[in-house]
């Protein structure tokens, strides 16, 4: 891990997605940028590298940033209007013809409108299709519940042959997108709409299937995905003030799960908190719980949306209201610690 941490030197800024001011330990915040821009840039990099990367548009290309690819490679961009179910089928046909197709829309439609297509055409075919699911989580903001998808981690990870990526910031999302394009098999990548802290660098290693310890610690492990990783780092600093040494793990690949890193965390820390911008049902927390009860059960607490739909509001207001801040992670960590034997 030191290899990772070494890459993290740099000036310390202050802020969090929720405006509180903190000093994250090894990961200084380097401005804010929405993860969707990483997806858009990653597609362009792939397009420059390979001539068989193709992209299907879903009439929200400017929101999920497939517009970048469209501008650079108009001949390999195909507008599919508003038909997410069939776009998934077109992508399958392209993949079965040797192309590497990406289709992106809001996760609410890129994972739910086409679930049968993902299951049977994409995954049962083991077709080399990549789906980008944007506008993930409550932080979508004022558009409200219909657009705030909080269920797709469960919906995609249950499918055989699927690889599920939930990168933590702009840089990692770009790397994850490129890695997805160079990986053979069905992949779903989850990213968000609003600007969130950028804290990994271009040199931070990324590997599909590998979770990363972003902060060492032996009292408790916080396993997070997406922008909640930043909240976890902020929470770890808060906990440090109380003398609690929290390990922070970036679980950017949810399927397949990096069981080695998770098992080590359970054994060495003895308690785990998971943090995700998703329902606490069947998401990252469930993924880790399912593994640990079979290998090494430890007390866990889940930070996430508590089985309710979202609503309109400012992203920061909503993250607070639905219990998705560093403060919520701190409280969960204290609770998990108190349950440690």
């Amino acid at each position: 891990m030191s290899q990772v941490l070494d890459t993290m030197a740099g000036k310390i800024e202050t802020a969090s997605t929720n405006g509180s001011t903190v000093k994250p330990n090894a990961f200084p915040m380097n401005g804010k940028k929405a993860t969707r821009f990483g997806f858009g840039e990653g597609l362009v990099t792939l397009g420059e590298k390979y001539d068989n990367i193709v992209v299907l548009g879903g009439d929200i290309t400017g929101s999920v940033m497939t517009s970048y690819f469209q501008e650079k490679f108009p001949d390999r961009f195909f507008s599919a209007g508003i038909m997410e179910a069939s776009a998934t089928l077109f992508a399958t046909g392209l993949a079965l013809s040797g192309k590497v197709p990406f289709f992106a829309s809001y996760g609410a439609f890129a994972a739910c409108r086409n679930t049968d297509m993902i299951r049977i055409s994409m995954c049962y075919n083991d077709a080399n299709v990549k789906i980008g699911g944007g506008h993930a989580g409550i932080s979508v903001g004022p558009d409200g519940a219909t657009h705030q998808v909080l269920e797709e981690i469960a919906i995609t990870r249950v499918l055989p042959n699927m690889t599920l990526l939930v990168p933590c910031d702009f840089n990692e999302t770009k790397k994850a997108t490129i890695a997805a394009g160079e990986f053979v098999g069905p992949v779903y990548i989850r990213f968000g709409r609003v600007d969130v802290p950028s804290f990994t660098t271009e040199d931070t290693p990324f590997e599909i299937g590998k979770a990363q310890v972003f902060r060492e610690g032996g009292d408790i492990a916080i396993c997070a995905c997406g922008p909640m990783v930043w909240e976890a780092l902020v929470a770890a600093d808060e906990l440090a003030k109380e003398g609690i040494d929290a390990r922070v793990i970036n679980v950017s690949t949810i399927k397949p799960l990096d069981t080695t890193t998770i098992l080590a965390a359970a054994k060495e820390c003895g308690a785990i908190v998971t943090a995700e911008e998703h329902q606490i049902t069947a998401g990252l927390g469930g993924t880790i719980a399912e593994y640990l009860v079979k290998e090494y059960p430890v007390p866990m607490e889940f930070v996430g949306v508590k089985d309710t739909f979202g609503g309109s509001g400012d992203p920061d207001e909503l993250m607070k209201l639905f219990g998705l801040t560093s403060g919520d992670i701190v409280i969960a960590a204290r609770k998990a610690l108190s349950r440690k034997k």
Binding site: G57, D59, G141, T146
Partner: protein, 316 residues
């Protein structure tokens, strides 16, 4: 035989926390929202009366969007003449004071992103105080970014926002009215033209004609615009009228900004028996605001304060 009775309206499960957002008092004052008397809904209303209502509906759309700082301007402004006619021209039968009254026609905004025009129309028709329009898209507002039934706003028959779903819900309501309750209620559904790219539209159309739901009237907002551009560039939906005809609908093509054409079309729809009707209304996105008219880039943008001022100045 008994019915299984259950509570349907209104839900208020969508509140998280306790307080509702409040409208800025100075603006409520400035817009004269407190003294406002709702428009009447009558077949006797003149076209001019409806046109003036449409203008007020548009003003309130602008007023709510500029405060919300996000949301959709183009579609709502373009469909305002249709909405004014539907709610105030004696087309829809409802009791604004008793919105869930069993004896009513139903309206479903399948293109849920056009919520601002629905809210503005409902407020101007007396379903709720206009001041509430100024809470659009705010935390715990009953005016969600997309219609949310979980907020219990009077007049919101169903949540929508995922394109292609509202029509099927309206078809289910029409089925309940015609073949289960066997009453004479009518169901009105408005869809976008980009929305026609969703296959559920055609599933629902096929079902509606199979079951001869002549109590269903679909109106397509044919503005040739969607998010990524002109509809024929993004995904051609023409020949729209042939499609609906081939799916068993009586079809009518009209100018969606001509009140008397709109009224006549709704009359013709109500008089058409044995099959559902689809009205294709040619409109312009953002109409009639000079700097928005027919420009797809206004699909999902709110006006900034300067633009709002200019727009309101054009709506006097």
């Amino acid at each position: 035989m008994a019915s299984f009775n259950f509570h349907i309206y209104p839900l208020e499960t969508g509140f998280h926390g306790s307080t509702r957002p409040t409208a800025p008092a100075d603006l409520v004052e400035a817009y004269g929202y407190n003294g406002f008397t709702p428009f009447s809904n009558s077949a006797d209303n003149t076209d001019d009366y409806i046109a003036s209502a449409a203008k007020e509906i548009r003003r309130d759309i602008i007023r709510s969007l500029v405060l919300a700082k996000s949301g959709h301007s183009g579609g709502p402004l373009g469909i305002s003449d249709v909405m004014a006619t539907l709610y105030l021209g004696g087309v829809m039968r409802y009791d604004a004071a008793n919105p869930w009254k069993a004896e009513r026609d139903r309206f479903v905004l399948s293109a849920g992103h056009m919520a601002p025009v629905l809210y503005s129309t409902l407020a101007n028709s007396g379903f709720f105080p206009k001041a509430e329009l100024l809470t659009l898209r705010k935390l715990n507002s009953r005016l969600q970014g997309h219609p949310g039934r979980d907020m219990g706003l009077p007049g919101i028959e169903t949540s929508t926002g995922s394109l292609g779903q509202g029509l099927g819900i309206g078809v289910g309501m029409a089925l309940a009215d015609k073949h289960v309750s066997k009453n004479d209620h009518r169901v009105y559904v408005i869809t976008g033209d980009g929305e026609l790219q969703e296959g559920e539209i055609w599933e629902s159309a096929m079902f509606a004609s199979h079951w001869k739901l002549d109590n269903l009237c679909v109106l397509v907002d044919r503005n040739h615009c969607q998010i990524d551009g002109r509809t024929n560039d993004v995904m051609e939906v023409d020949p729209v009228q042939d499609k609906w005809a081939a799916f068993g609908f009586h079809t009518i093509f009209i100018d969606g900004h001509n009140i008397s054409e709109i009224r006549a079309a709704f009359k013709e729809a109500a008089a058409t028996k044995g099959k559902p009707t689809c009205i294709i209304a040619q409109t312009y996105m953002g109409h009639p605001i000079s700097f928005m008219n027919d420009d797809y880039r206004w699909h999902g943008k709110p006006p900034n304060p300067e633009q709002a001022e200019k727009a309101l100045a054009e709506l006097v």
